[in-house]
Amino acid sequence: MTQSVVVQVGQCGNQVGCRFWDLALREHAAVNKKGIYDEALSSFFRNVDTRGGDDSPDIYKGKIRSLKARALLIDMEEGVVNEILQGPLRDVFDSKQLITDVSGSGNNWAVGHKLYGYQYRENIVEKLRKTAEHCDCLQCFFIIHSMGGGTGSGLGTFVLNLLEDEFPEVYRFVTSVFPSGEDDVITSPYNSVLAMKELNEHADCVLPIENESLFDIVNKIHQMINSVKLGSTVKHTSVLTSNTGSAKPVQEKPFDAMNNIVANLLLNLTSSARFEGSLNMDLNEISMNLVPFPRLHYLVSSLTPLYTLADVNVPSRRLDQMFSDAFSRDHQLIQADPKHSLYLACALLVRGNVQLSDLRRNIERLKPSLHFVSWNQEGWKTGLCSVPPVGHSHSLLALANNTCVKPTFIELKDRFLKLYKKKAHIHHYLHIDGMEQSCFSEAISSLSDLIEEYNELDATKGGPRTDPSRLKIAV
């Protein structure tokens, strides 16, 4: 069994990360009735007897003593991390797993990446090594951050670079929250584009998230819960956005609902690596199957169902609805419509009480309405995990490598150029050591190239299919 380490950077990264750890504990508590430290738990948690002090050795078997998250919390201001450490999750984090500073990055990618990066490099490397040493077989780093600010964006991508240098064999999965059009941080386009270049070059897989989509989903759930028919009730632990039933009772904070969605995304993504099933789908398989070309590693994700009704019987029509929903525009975690764009690859990870035949029936049913690239007409990767998420009898995570990410990138480029044409606010960046005008031009060029790659693929959509001629054998 392998382990993963979560690196949460900046305010957004840490807030989402906090929700992730809370829901992870909830999930494992629901499955692990006997309180024995098992391999599934070890993928994200260490087991330590804290009476021995901070340096006590890990306990690999037997009863759970004290679970410690395999995490590194990084923020250049103290507020968020301090709140976490004073909150109900304080025991889950090791005091040595934190790197904080006081003044923040001022929404400036250069401050995060060049200034703090340089300053904290050794400290970060040392702490990463320590976390890695506690892992028997480290498979993946999960970075959680936002793109629009300074710390998450700048320092977060600095850490990404670092991980590639120091741990080249370990996968790097990045969950990036992209800014929306009405973002109140003026320089967010600069920060995002500068960060994108790093994601292009150093990440194995990126799961882009847009706040607008999370917000829409939260609203949708509220509406549904309020309008639910008499006689059926919604199971609150199942609601994708809720804190209910989590291991430590937490007071709901404003972004909690949205962050819970992202936390659930990560739990579902790793479920098949942690729990057993008839067709396992490990993290290295996700990277292998969904990334046909190194730079095209942006995966659009969707989670269904958003909640379950307490009626237990699930007729197969409702099950099929779950599959249909996964492909609908309003279940995607970015503002995109994969159904009307071109699929390069698609992965379906089913959890819980779903049989192979249900999965196959739905693939056959949905296939005709989706457009797949000519060289990957049957490009489906499937996984069946027996353990459902808390409160559900079954669930589905869909990951799509689809050209529908292109509009998001194009918009980002446009917003960047609007500012850059006037060189607005550039001086804040340029006066940081190591930052030059060329950083900007290289970054926008990297983004343009990426958009062009997607354009070329889109151009093949719907065109005549001529299969390349096969090798001829002399008879």
Partner: protein
């Protein structure tokens, strides 16, 4: 003689466990509708072939379990032990912590060499525990990374370490519409490599077995367990003890050797397909009766028309008695596809099998002209019924059965290869474009050979 089974990857291990289950429940759960003496003889032959006995314990399967991650193997070990009927040797497995990521190159070029010694040691130990080694039976899927890549590597090692032993690779053909996106690459690489080290490849296609589950077994919600149980039943129907010679007094002791002898006269032709009838839900068995003439007629027509199961067999397809057979495979315009065989083996289990007339299978027009029809066709029989089926008939065929699936997989892989998609994932671990080209060439050769039969 005993057969050592090597279970590779998730699929190989899950199927292997069902195979031993099926064999065990056959000898313990039923008495075969024959004489006590016959039944005992059968049971002994089966045990010698697949199990070893240690004092006061349940029989131990002669198997080595290999996987690059631990979840599946630990499940298989515990499920077997719980059966109370048989178990795996607790030491006979090899595991790592991180799987192969569906990457053939990872399985073949990284995990293979790294773990060669440990894995071969386990196999050697198991082989030494056989009084006489009858060969190796490996189970793997082609779609993933471990079964396919590591499996191909291990087969090669087996060939090097045991140059005169028989190696039969049981290969699972994935569903046409994905389980794994790179399954066609993995399949092409696996098949081309196995062709060099293996004696024969016995193939089961997931799509076919799935249809059998849906249409013959009437299973509403089909799981991999259902699919694997059908596969296990079909394998058991071939490899459980039989008399291979007419009027033989003892159960034959060399199933793999006999299989190779009868079915693989030429190293260019190693692809074997398997058909088994009847197949029906267990609760219908009590109400059904079968006749040998009926079963044999169906089986023969299934062979000729390349049908996958007992329904929808095209009755119009018939062999020509004069002239060359209708060309098949590439000729998409010809609706009547006639399946030409190199060699066939029919296995009959159940009483009165002596009376079964297999003359239809010796019709020269079924075969290519190289062998005498008497040599091209063989039958193995036993009066002992198999696994609750009063009569059952199986066909193992070296024919054009697998031509279409093979052509399809190579076509799709080539299509993907032309765009260079995913290639960087393989070159990362040492499999270059030339290696792909070599594999494509090798398989186009096999396709061509089977097409012009």
């Amino acid at each position: 003689m005993s057969v050592v089974t090597v279970q590779l990857g998730q699929c190989g291990n899950q199927i292997g466990q069902e195979v031993f289950n099926a064999i065990c429940s056959d000898i313990h759960g039923t008495h075969g509708l024959c004489s006590k003496k016959e039944n005992e003889s059968y049971g002994d032959a089966c045990k010698e072939r697949f199990f070893r006995e240690e004092e006061s314990e349940v029989p131990i399967a002669r198997a080595v379990l290999v996987d690059m991650e631990p979840k599946v193997i630990s499940q298989m070990l515990s499920v077997a032990a719980k059966s109370g009927c048989w178990k795996y040797d607790d030491q006979s497995h090899f595991c790592q912590k991180q799987g192969s990521g569906n990457n053939w190159a990872n399985g073949y070029s990284v995990h293979g060499p790294r773990h060669k010694e440990a894995i071969m040691n386990l196999i050697q130990k198991e082989a030494e525990k056989c009084d006489r080694l009858g060969g190796f039976f490996t189970i793997m899927s082609m779609a993933g990374g471990t079964g396919s890549g590591l499996g191909a590597f291990v087969s090669q090692c087996l060939r090097d370490a045991f140059p005169s032993s028989f190696i039969l690779n049981h290969v699972i053909w994935p569903y046409g519409t994905g389980e794994v996106i790179v399954q066609n690459y993995n399949s092409v690489l696996t098949l081309s490599h196995l062709y060099q080290s293996s004696d024969a490849l016995l193939v089961h296609e997931n799509d076919v077995i799935h249809k059998i589950c849906a249409q013959r077994m009437n299973i509403k919600q089909i799981s991999f367990r259902d699919v694997n149980q059908v596969i296990a039943h079909q394998l058991g129907s071939v490899f459980q003890p039989t008399y291979t010679t007419e009027g033989g007094l003892h159960y034959s002791r060399n199933p793999l050797g006999d299989l190779m002898d009868t079915l693989v006269p030429h190293p260019e032709f190693k692809m074997l397909g398997l058909r088994n009838i009847p197949q029906m839900p267990e609760n219908s068995l009590a109400y059904s009766t079968f006749s040998w003439p009926g079963l044999i007629k169906h089986l023969r027509q299934m062979l000729i028309a390349n049908a996958k199961m007992e329904e929808g067999i095209q009755q119009q397809v018939q062999p020509l008695s004069l002239g060359p057979s209708i060309p098949s495979g590439r000729s998409r315009n010809k609706p009547l596809h006639f399946n030409t065989s190199i060699a066939n083996l029919v296995v009959l289990r159940g009483k009165d099998m002596h009376s079964a007339d297999l003359g239809g299978f010796q019709d020269p027009s079924l075969y290519t002209s190289w062998l005498n029809p008497q040599d091209a066709f063989n039958a193995w029989k036993t009066p002992r019924a198999f696994n609750k089926y009063e009569k059952s008939a199986s066909l193992v065929s070296n024919s054009q059965f697998l031509l279409k699936p093979l052509d399809s997989v190579v076509g799709k892989a080539w299509n993907m290869f032309a765009s260079k998609a995913y290639i960087h994932q393989y070159t990362k671990f040492g499999i270059e474009e030339e290696d792909f080209l070599d594999s494509f060439t090798a398989l186009e050769q096999v396709i061509s050979s089977y097409t012009i039969l």
